[in-house]
Symmetry: C2
Subunit: 434 residues, 2 copies
């Protein structure tokens, strides 16, 4: 079964992930040959600027990515650079030339999957991207293939390690956001510019990819509602603790039925209270986890390391073996599946639940007035807790599910209410009544 | 891309899983067509005895499986009957005729994968079996494909729902084995003859399948060391609780280095104490979970429903879509990978850890004598706990890792020791020091 010609690989990028890909390719060469049915040979590594990489063979390095990709002995392009350009153009050229692509580039996929998939389809090349979501955790392949005979209803994940590390640390130390972010930076869990992580851009790109797979619909990063964790305070975390919850930055993708009865896709990233007995609550530190609900499969959970050189390289290599097997044995991997073409549900129409903590005046009629604001907007209350204090009282309300816009409007009205001195914490609630 | 000819499916078996397969095939026909690129059409359902199945179309039923499989308009055979014969012969005939097979039959795969895979290879047909292990949980595909570029070092799973239900219930109620088994039967979690579950045969078959995939080596059920849960007592569970542990029936597959330095496969099923903070400890009731450790990926966990009609049917349908896509678009799924051909490590040579509880005489020199029995066999002790009582003392020992035979020999010697009145609980320990 071994074909004469080896599989030639061009690697774009040689950072943390790239150098691990090189290490695994070279150290496991014999095993990979046995698994693929032909040798998998690294033809070259494209880097941006000429500099020394002590851990990879110098003769493989080049700054001319386009020429490397165009080489006749290159069959597969592995991309671990990130960002949109010049990678987009390079990968489109590769796919148009019939070369299969393995990429870890969530930002590019969340913008340009349609264009990449069309180029792949036109030439018959493969496009694999397991490493783009949740690092080493197999989630793209299970959703594209294992669950292809089921109807996925909901995907909820912790997809960003930096924010999960920060929220876990805030939960265990009681410290505020700013000092915890600083600590995360010192420990190497947050970048110098943490925007992509803490403002939810990274998780939103991954949510777009997962929503596209789950619902057979093109969902881009721009379709994903996004709130980060910058505004999470120590008192939010404390409020969650009081209710037996912890706070997580969740990526949620689900089918939502619009008022006209049509089915739409809701994709969103925002912090939420999660009860401590929920499987996602115990996902701590830099770990990732994804819960997938299928109509027949029920609830599945996938857990593991969501980032880092070796874990991400494991996912890249798995894809490289799959693509290489296809080249040796014939056949192609699954293509983009966007036949369902569902609309996107605006955040305001999405059913959510809120937790609201308030400082209120300690006088008669307060609870009635507050409850009235919820009722006026059709929001039903699940739990109310009132605690008297010297200078007033604090009131905690957890709602049942309602349209997010009705909940947001209620909070705005409460901020303006003469009975409410301050709204001290507003958080969405996921996964059962706290 | 849609080919003219639909994909014809023969279904063997119409029990709990089979009727769910039929329901999903019929109710999702349009979605499956969109995903596959051709209609997937159920040609017939083979049942053993002619009887009414209210939930499937009567005209599809037949008792002549061989003729159904042989039909020219059948491309794929889906088998959810179970057992070795007549299924083995039927599936070999199907594969030899170039018809792809999707099976949920763990017993058959744990005996005959080699024979089935060879028949598939000879004709170019596909052999898929996601549903054979852990029901709806995608585990076969992640191990065969997602982790194909990594080196899997260890797989630990809870793979049998019946025994997990019984052990969870014993843990929460403190009841004994016999009465809990009876309760499980009443609730439908245990069969009238529970042997396959409680003696570990079911889990051992699944362990053989996972070990084969993980280590690229043919491992059959006969290679799997097996102990069931019949002998687990309420006092075993209580002893585990005292140490902050719970008892689980684990399937373990790992690479073991033999004394001559060669690498071997250890595959085993036995009850073990697991610390309550271990991810597998919280897998309760009829759920399954599998932890896979890869050199690059690190520790991954997969969790979900391990049995039941709909969850198992979800896995079957995912395979059916994959096989059908291959027929429409060309190509084949991954084949058997057994190139590593590692030897099997006997249980005695496998490194394990023991917990031993004893009733001992309350006199000087007891601890020294007991410790001496361990030391004599090269077993190092991790924890000793001695509790004085009216009629003697109880002594609990947790060891470090040692050869299983040295540990078993030590326990035998302790039973004979004049200082030991009774050995009250012996359990292997997994996942860190309790």
């Amino acid at each position: 079964m071994t074909r004469e010609r080896p599989i030639g690989v061009a690697l774009l990028g040689c950072g943390t992930v790239g150098s691990e890909v090189v290490r695994l390719l070279l150290s496991q060469a014999d095993e990979l040959t046995a698994r693929v049915g032909a040798p998998v040979v690294l033809r070259g590594i494209a880097i941006r600027r000429p500099k020394r990489h002590h851990d990879v063979p110098g003769e493989l390095l080049t700054t001319d990515a386009a020429s490397l990709i165009a080489r006749e002995d290159v069959d597969v392009v592995v991309e671990v650079v990130g960002g949109i350009e010049p990678v987009r153009t390079l990968l489109l050229d590769a796919l148009r030339a019939g070369k299969s692509v393995v990429t870890a580039n969530k930002a590019l996929l969340a913008e340009n999957t349609a264009e990449l998939a069309e180029a792949a389809d036109a030439s018959g090349a493969d496009l694999y991207f397991e490493a783009a979501v949740a690092g080493a955790i197999p989630i793209v392949r299970p959703m594209r293939e294992s669950l292809a005979g089921d109807r996925i209803t909901r995907v909820v994940g912790i997809l960003n390690g930096t924010t999960n590390f920060i929220l876990s640390a805030m939960d265990s130390t009681g410290a505020g956001y700013a000092e915890t972010l600083e600590e995360a930076g010192r420990l190497g869990y947050a970048e110098a510019d943490p925007t992509a992580d803490v403002d939810g851009f990274d998780a939103a790109a991954k949510a777009a990819i997962l929503a596209s797979l789950a619902f057979h619909t093109r969902v881009t990063a721009a379709d994903v509602y996004r709130e980060g964790i910058r505004d999470i305070t120590a008192s939010d975390i404390a409020a969650a603790k009081t209710l037996g919850c912890t706070v997580k930055l969740l990526a949620l993708c689900e089918r939502v039925v619009a008022e006209d009865g049509t089915e739409r896709v809701s994709a969103r990233v925002h912090p939420a209270m999660v009860p401590r007995n929920h499987p996602l609550a115990s996902v701590d530190g830099a770990y990732n986890a994804v819960v997938v609900e299928g109509e027949a499969a029920g609830r599945l959970m996938f857990y593991g390391q969501g980032a880092g050189g070796a874990p991400t390289a494991s996912a890249v290599l798995g894809d490289l073996v799959a693509v290489s097997r296809n080249l040796v044995h014939g056949g192609r991997g699954p293509r983009e599946s966007a036949y369902a073409d569902l609309g996107i549900a605006p955040m305001g129409e999405t059913p959510t639940r809120y937790h609201v903590s308030m400082e209120v005046a300690d006088r008669a009629g307060v609870l009635a007035a507050v409850a009235g604001e919820f009722a006026k907007r059709g929001v039903s209350i699940s739990v109310v807790r009132q605690v008297g204090r010297d200078d007033g009282a604090s009131l905690v309300v957890v709602t049942h599910t309602a349209r997010d816009s009705a909940l947001a409007d209620t909070v705005a009205a409460l901020r303006d209410s003469e009975f409410v001195n301050a709204v001290t914490s507003v958080l969405r609630v996921e996964g059962g009544t706290p």
